[in-house]
């Protein structure tokens, strides 16, 4: 049954694209593509937020360890900064948030970028001399 729906949809969209004089840039194709494909994916995409908030509600604990404390506090401060009402009536959240972004977040991000850059160079050089096992194993298949 599912494969019948799959092939039916494949054939329908395919025929629409061929029939429309402007191919996929035509109005007829775009209307049906939006109504079926885009709208479904859009509806599906909205499910991530309740799932994320469920995780926040169930799992975020302030005092389980220093890491969770830092994680949840930064999450909370960033959330308060994103609430325009809170940042309007408590303007001091702005500089605090800016400090979090400019100092600890930037420090971690820069370290990650430097580490990634070094890793990319090493992997690239190893691939060039043929000593990168991942790539060679993949090619040997």
């Amino acid at each position: 049954m599912e494969s019948a729906v799959f092939f039916g949809s494949f054939a329908f969209i395919g025929i629409l694209g061929l029939v429309d004089p402007k191919n996929v840039s035509g109005a007829l194709f775009n209307v049906w593509f939006t109504a079926i494909i885009i709208q479904f994916a859009f509806g599906l995409g909205t499910t991530q937020f309740p799932a994320q908030i469920n995780a926040v509600f169930q799992r975020f604990k302030f005092f389980d360890s220093p890491e969770t404390f830092v994680f949840v506090v930064v999450y909370l401060l960033s959330l308060l900064r994103f609430l325009s009402v809170f940042s309007f009536y408590v303007p001091s959240i702005g500089p605090v948030f800016d400090w979090i972004v400019n100092i600890p977040h930037t420090a971690a991000n820069r370290a990650a970028l430097i580490g990634t850059g070094v890793g990319e160079i090493i992997v690239g050089l190893r691939a060039l001399v043929g000593k990168e096992p991942g790539l060679m194993e993949y090619e040997a298949k």
């Binding site: 494969s3 949809s9 694209g17 109504a35 599906l44 909205t46 937020f49 990650a112 430097i114 691939a127």
Partner: protein
């Protein structure tokens, strides 16, 4: 006629959107499964058209206008399909060329933007101490954060003892970064939900509005 076709498209869109969203409230259900398979089949067909359009614009048009060397690139790209035949060894050349291009693109620029660029930006930020752009404490925390976070990414040494404590400090900086990134991700997800509610509610009202118009016109005819 236009109003009826608009109404039909609005309702079709609403049904599929509701199908996608129904997973949250009802789990796996028939409407969701139907929408899912329609999406997969339709997007598969769309991908064929996209690939053809892309091939036409980047290969067929330039070749027909005189750039014959591109036929070599086209042939090399077509080699990937040999994986489905007994000449699968030929597909390696295509992958090797792509890997070589990728390595070449990244090698020099990774050094410039990700290593030297980040270090020089940090040093420029530290120079701001003398002009009051950044205070000493923040600058020290920035430098400590970068160094300790870098230690976290070394996998050749076990994270124990004093080294482990240094790595632990780096982990705190990483958790601060993750907290902010997760919040940004949540906000992105929320924006999608808000747009969904805003757009589909407007569509629903439009759909109901046209239904009301139709009913009124039928009453007038009677």
């Amino acid at each position: 006629m236009t109003a009826i076709s608009d109404l039909a498209m609005i309702w079709i869109g609403l049904v599929f959107a509701a199908g996608g969203f129904s997973f949250v409230l009802f789990g796996d259900n028939y409407l969701f499964t139907f929408g899912e398979h329609c999406y997969l089949g339709g997007f598969c067909a769309f991908t064929f058209f996209t690939v053809w359009n892309s091939l036409y614009a980047t290969a067929i048009v330039p070749i027909s206008s005189g750039r014959w060397l591109l036929t070599i690139s086209l042939a090399l790209g077509a080699l990937v399909f040999t994986r489905l035949t007994r000449f699968r060894w030929a597909a390696r050349y295509f992958v090797c060329i792509l890997s070589g291009i990728g390595v070449g693109l990244i090698l020099g620029l990774a050094t410039r933007s990700e290593i030297i660029g980040q270090l020089s930006t940090t040093l420029v930020a530290l120079q701001g101490i003398s002009v009051g752009k950044i205070d000493m404490l923040s600058a020290a925390i920035l430098v400590i954060g970068i160094i300790t976070s870098l230690f976290y990414f070394t996998y050749t040494r076990e994270h124990t003892g004093n080294y482990g404590r240094v790595v632990r400090v780096g982990r705190l900086f990483l958790m601060a970064s993750f907290g902010y990134i997760l919040l940004s991700d949540n906000v992105g997800g929320f924006d999608a939900l808000a747009l969904f509610l805003q757009k589909d509610w407007t569509d629903l009202l439009k759909g109901l509005g046209v239904v009301r118009l139709l009913l009124n016109s039928l009453r007038l005819l009677r």
